[in-house]
Assembly symmetry: C2
Homo-oligomer: 218 residues x 2
C-alpha cells in the first residue's frame, strides 16, 4: 500500500514536470513568433494551451483523489498541496503566453518598430527561472529554489529598461505608439511569468522545509 | 469531535471573509487615492497589504493543519482545498492594489491628464465581482457564482475602451504619454482583479458541485 502510494506520487510528479515543459514551450514559441515574425507559431501556442488546461484539471483531480483516499501525512501532504499550487502557477504561465500571442498578432500586421534585443533577453531570463524552479521541484532542492527567487530582480530591471526605451520611442514618434504599447504589455506578461516562477520556488521551499518563505518580515 | 471540526471550518471560513473584506478595502483605497488624488491613502493600502499577507500565511497553515489532523472527506476536503486556493487569489488581489498605488504615486506628481470616468467604473465592476464571489462562498451559492463569472466580459470591455481612449490622447499630445501609460497599466491591474474574482467563483462552484468549470470544452 505504502509503495503503491509512493508510485502514485511519482506519477503525479511526472505529470507536473510534463506540464511544466509544455508551459515552457508556450513561452518559447510565443516569443519566437514575435521576434522572428513567425505568425504560424501562434496557432501552435493556442494548441498547447489546450494541453496545459487539460493537465491542470487532471492533476487537480488526481491530487484531490490522493488526499481523500490516502490520508497522507507530513511530507506527502505538503507535496500534494504544493502540487496543486504549482499546477495553478503553470496554467497561468500558459495564459501569459497566450496574452503574448494576442499582442503579437497585432504587431505582425505592422512593420517592426525596432530590432528586439532586451525583450528576448527578458524572455530567456523568465523562462530560465521557470526551468530552474521546476528542476528544484524534481530534485527537492530548496537551496537552489532560493537562488531562483533572487533572479526576479533581473527580470524587473529588464521590465523597467524596456518601458523607458519604449516611452522614448513613443514620445519622439507618435506613429509608433500602438506598437510600442503592445511591446510594453508583452514585457508585463513576461514579468508575470517570472512572478509565477518565484511562486513555484516558494512552494518548493515550503514543501521541503515545511517553512513558509512568503512575505518575510522586513 | 465532528462538531469541533465543523466549528474549526467555520472559523476558517470567517477568516477568509475578513481577508476578502481587507482586499476589497485595498482596491477601494487605491482607486480613491488615484481618482480623488489623495496620496495619504497609499500608505493605508501598504499597511493593509501587511495584514493580507499575514492572513494568507495563517489561513494556509490552518487549512494544512486541518487536512493533516482531521482527514476530511468529500465536501469538507473540497472546502479546505478551495479555502487554500481562494486564499491565494485574495493575496494576489492585494498585490494588484499595491501595483495600482505604485502607478498612482507617479500620477499624483503631475497634473491630471483627464477626468477619470471609465477607470472608476471599471474598478467598481471589478470590486463588485470580488464582493459577489465572496458572498457566493459564504452562502454556498453556485448559481450566483456562475453569474459573477459572466460579469468579466464587462470588465474586459472597459479595459479595451480605456486603452483606445488613452492611445488617442497619447497620439494627439505626446506629453501625455507617461501619464497615459500609467493609466493603461492601472486598467490592467483592475482586469487582473476581476480575473481573480472569476477564479474565486470557479472555486466556489467546484466546492459546492464537485465539478470543475474551468476550461469548458469549446
Amino acid at each position: 500500500m505504502e509503495r503503491h502510494f509512493s508510485k502514485l506520487l511519482d506519477q503525479l510528479n511526472g505529470r507536473l514536470v510534463t506540464m511544466g515543459t509544455t508551459a515552457e514551450a508556450m513561452i518559447d514559441k510565443s516569443v519566437q513568433a514575435l521576434v522572428e515574425r513567425k505568425g504560424e507559431l501562434i496557432q501552435e501556442v493556442y494548441r498547447l494551451e489546450g494541453q496545459v488546461n487539460q493537465s491542470q484539471l487532471d492533476i487537480d483531480e488526481e491530487a484531490l483523489r490522493l488526499l481523500a483516499t490516502q490520508q497522507p501525512m507530513a511530507a506527502d501532504l505538503r507535496f500534494l498541496v504544493a502540487a496543486m499550487k504549482i499546477n495553478g502557477e503553470l496554467e497561468r504561465i500558459g495564459d501569459q503566453a497566450v496574452n503574448i500571442c494576442e499582442n503579437t498578432e497585432f504587431l505582425l500586421q505592422h512593420p517592426p518598430l525596432k530590432p528586439l534585443i532586451d525583450l528576448p533577453l527578458m524572455a530567456d531570463a523568465a523562462r530560465k527561472m521557470l526551468r530552474e524552479s521546476l528542476d528544484c521541484f524534481v530534485r527537492r532542492d530548496a537551496l537552489e529554489a532560493k537562488s531562483v527567487i533572487m533572479e526576479d530582480d533581473r527580470v524587473d530591471e529588464f521590465k523597467d529598461q524596456i518601458l523607458r526605451e519604449l516611452l522614448t520611442y513613443m514620445m519622439s514618434e507618435p506613429s509608433t505608439i500602438p506598437r510600442a504599447m503592445s511591446l510594453v504589455l508583452i514585457s508585463r506578461n513576461l514579468e508575470r511569468i517570472a512572478d509565477h516562477a518565484v511562486n513555484i520556488g516558494e512552494e518548493v521551499i515550503y514543501m521541503i522545509e515545511g517553512k513558509d518563505v512568503r512575505h518575510p518580515k522586513k
